[in-house]
């Protein structure tokens, strides 16, 4: 839930999603859901020469399970807030 919230705060920001098949896609984060499925707009594939079929694609939906990394804009991530929220969530998880 915590990480879902983080992604929600990053909507309309530029991110780079790296998939488990090594494809990297940069685009504007349009939406995210609880499974961390991701919708990207204005996409650009990092290595277009290797993936020419992606050149015509302007936006996409990425299933959360195929994501390896997402590079985030650090200026829009409050690390102190993240750490506090993570501690709070972990304590709540123990109480369950």
């Amino acid at each position: 839930m915590l990480i879902f919230s983080v992604f929600k705060t990053l909507t309309d920001q530029q991110v780079t999603v790296e998939l488990k098949n090594d494809l990297s896609i940069t685009g504007v984060l349009k939406s995210v859901d609880q499974f961390l499925n991701i919708r990207l707009d204005n996409i650009k594939v990092l290595d277009e020469a290797r993936h020419p079929h992606m050149m015509a694609v302007k936006n996409c939906f990425i299933r959360g399970s195929v994501v390896r990394y997402v590079q985030l804009p650090s200026e829009h991530v409050d690390t102190q807030l993240l750490e506090d929220a993570t501690r709070r969530e972990s304590l709540a998880a123990v109480k369950r």
């Binding site: 839930m1 915590l2 990480i3 983080v6 992604f7 488990k20 961390l36 959360g64 399970s65 994501v67 390896r68 990394y69 997402v70 590079q71 985030l72 804009p73 650090s74 991530v77 690390t79 993240l82 750490e83 929220a85 993570t86 501690r87 969530e89 972990s90 998880a93 123990v94």
Partner: protein
């Protein structure tokens, strides 16, 4: 009994928040970076990350395999938990 206050494995990770950690991932990848967030899936958010990718070449028996190492730096990174094998905090003393 234990000098530490670790009752469950995630305590180890919680005590590493805002510290530099080592992460071993599937696919012969390793990361070091500062841990800012995690959840029960071991999804991670880290900053100031250096990724090391080990590319092993030469699988034939009798031939010493050569390991090529590729490194890159990433500013702020979300790591999906299903790829995580091991997380090691900085050594506590």
């Amino acid at each position: 009994m234990e000098p530490s206050s670790i009752q469950e494995p995630f305590d180890l990770i919680r005590l590493s928040l805002s510290e530099r950690v080592f992460v071993k991932l599937r696919g012969d990848r390793e990361l070091t970076g500062i841990l800012h967030a995690y959840d029960g899936h071991m999804n991670l958010i880290m900053s100031d990350v250096e990724e090391t990718i080990m590319l092993v070449e030469g699988d034939q028996p009798g031939v010493a395999p050569t390991v090529n190492v590729a490194k890159r730096k990433l500013d702020m990174l979300f790591v999906r938990g299903d790829g995580v094998i091991l997380v090691s905090p900085p050594s506590r003393t």
